[in-house]
Subunit: 390 residues, 2 copies
């Protein structure tokens, strides 16, 4: 099949593109956004792993979370493994010996897909806050345009954790004919008040930083590093469980026998958080953080279907596997159960698994054997029904 060549980019995320592809979509028909604006042409950066089979029936769309990217495996210029390298590869649950994996940077992101830090074709300036506010549905529309471009009429599966789960649910709801299966992990059909509140703290931290410059920091040659680091620190706490923080750090001190009676990082958990904040700002754009958190806040499949979530999936042919984790307090199990109840009410084919884990929300990115086992089983069953001949 045709693959686009890696294209040069004018964004700060140039390095992130090296091992990926970038395509311009929406030349003829622009992307109609929920806000009313139209976007086109727009750039979409993506990676693929494995081989598309002859009848193009083995594609799995992997949707990334808030701060993820199109590199779940083998990220360029990084000594770190990709964010789902445990999940994707030969012999792994998303087995690249059998499946063709597509993973794109989301619309509004900062790893090469059109978003706030990208240079506008019309003005030669970064989008900044002139980028239209996008939604999860817009992200999914862009993904579908990418699938059209790749010649993939129907996915075998759409899968993702956290915001990726929102995309998987949105995809299955809006394009039921375009995927055989959907796996939303650690997600929800609508963002909760508490989660909106945490996102708002992060946005306020960014916008409070004078170096944010009203969103025009790229033109000013600055970046709201301190504000973005604080946003990341606050968010990072929500990704872990109290038990995981206790197990990892407890009240252990940082290389010292006693506290220092000062405001340096005395406790290991402080040092860890500071590190999370400072490394994040090297890989993420502050405006993209505003846009993507906003998209998550706006996500509400319930109200979009008249308050009846089952209507989002009425007569769906998609097979669902909904997964949650016991210690996830950001997207707790009741929010996955709400999805499952709606799917049951819609007479959908749905499996539900709540996985016992003390790792919190981040469990979907970590070594969770039960998660892998559940996914292997579900995908194998789907492959048999789909006639994929594994």
């Amino acid at each position: 099949m045709k693959m686009d060549n890696p294209a040069p980019t004018s964004s700060p995320a140039r390095a992130a593109l090296d091992a990926g592809h970038r395509v311009e979509l929406g030349h003829e028909t622009p992307l109609k956004l929920d806000c009313g604006a139209e976007l086109g042409p727009f750039r979409m950066a993506y990676r693929t792993y494995g081989t598309l089979n002859a009848d193009r029936s083995n594609a799995i769309l992997v949707c990334h979370a808030l701060t993820g990217d199109q590199h779940p495996v083998d990220p360029p210029h990084s000594r770190k493994a990709g964010w789902w390298s445990l999940m994707i590869g030969p012999g792994k649950p998303l087995d690249t010996d059998h499946y063709f994996i597509v993973c794109a940077n989301v619309l509004g992101g900062c790893s090469g897909t059109e978003g706030p830090p990208e240079i506008r074709r019309d003005t030669g300036e970064p989008w900044g806050l002139d980028f239209p506010v996008i939604t999860i549905a817009d992200m999914v529309r862009a993904q579908v345009m990418l699938l059209d471009h790749l010649g993939i009429e129907k996915l075998f599966c759409v899968i993702g954790g956290s915001m990726g789960a929102m995309q998987a649910l949105q995809f299955a709801s809006a394009y039921p004919e375009r995927t055989f299966a959907a796996v939303p992990i650690a997600g929800a059909a609508r963002h909760s008040a508490q989660n909106i509140a945490f996102h708002e703290v992060g946005r306020q931290a960014i916008m409070a930083d004078p170096d944010w410059q009203g969103g025009d920091y790229m033109k000013a040659g600055t970046a709201p590093r301190r504000g973005l680091a604080v946003a990341r620190m606050a968010a990072h706490i929500t990704y872990l469980s109290e038990a995981a923080l206790h197990r990892k750090f407890g009240r252990s001190l940082q290389d010292r026998k006693s506290v220092t009676y000062g405001f340096d990082a005395d406790f290991q958990v402080e040092s860890y958080l500071r590190h999370q904040g400072s490394t994040f700002v090297d890989r993420f754009d502050a405006n993209a953080y505003l846009y993507i958190t906003r998209a998550m806040d706006y996500f509400d499949l319930v109200s979009e279907h008249g308050g009846v979530l089952a209507e989002a999936f009425r007569d769906t042919p998609v097979r669902f596997c909904v997964i949650s984790f016991t210690s996830d307090w950001l997207f707790p199990t009741p929010e996955s159960r709400e999805v499952v109840h709606a799917l049951n009410a819609a007479a959908a084919d749905v499996s539900f698994c709540e996985i016992e884990s003390d790792k919190g929300h981040d469990a979907f990115l970590l070594d969770e054997p039960e998660l892998f086992a559940v996914l292997r089983g579900f995908l194998q069953g789907c492959a048999e029904h789909r006639g994929l001949g594994r």
Copy 2:
């Protein structure tokens, strides 16, 4: 008994003193702090309610939480009720017809007691970061010096919620002969890793604000308002429960029928949080926030007693009533249970009550009839044993 006259203050919290008293303590014997420094003389701002009886046996020391002050009832210059006006007053659980209530602003605070925003007597400049880092034990030492000044040899009860609970536990542990009873509400014997992490986010938000000026903002005539507001917003989420946020706000929009596709406060919960942040900076000092959060982080009655919490209360004559709330995720019930188990192991007289509430940590400040009933019962029983003749 002798009462100090309201004294003028040079701190930004001048107004907060108007209805209270301020005394200078530590003239002859300075306060020896855990960090090794000595403080003296130092100012202590406090309020009293009710009347001390002839044998000085009816005093209750009320210890305030992180952002509380010495005005639980009738705060000056405020249209708002005090933070414990439901709890303290004639006929209320802390009945001012029977008890003499003492409430002091904590050491390191910003309502008139010696702390970072106060003007140093020696230099005529604000303390700022030159104020010594203090601990919960230091706060309690200062409270005991105030009780000495007031001629109160032994309290009837020491009581407080959250950081007030830490002080109540510390007081009972360090001065068992100086109180008949102790009531730690929604507290813990040591600050958890997750709570240290949230405090660190708040401190980083403050210190990231250029207007913090390395702590010297008072000299510079500025204040880190944006950073302090972000710190307050993040903290405020932890004071509520997910259920309370959902009940109060859910995903309700702010005076609008649909979202605005922008970064203004679309959701009511965002507007509420922004309001919490912006009003907080008018009443609280950023450096005091650093110092008091640090004191809470350092609190660890377990490690200070060789890892055996029961040793903190060995052979204690104090009667305890430990209270927690089901939906409090900042100081969850297991942390109160740890205290109760230790008190049991120390053969102490202890009652424990977990109160069913969906209001989260802040329940201790709110209208919780079961809390009031439990306190009335406990205090009445103690009053009978103490021969207070109610």
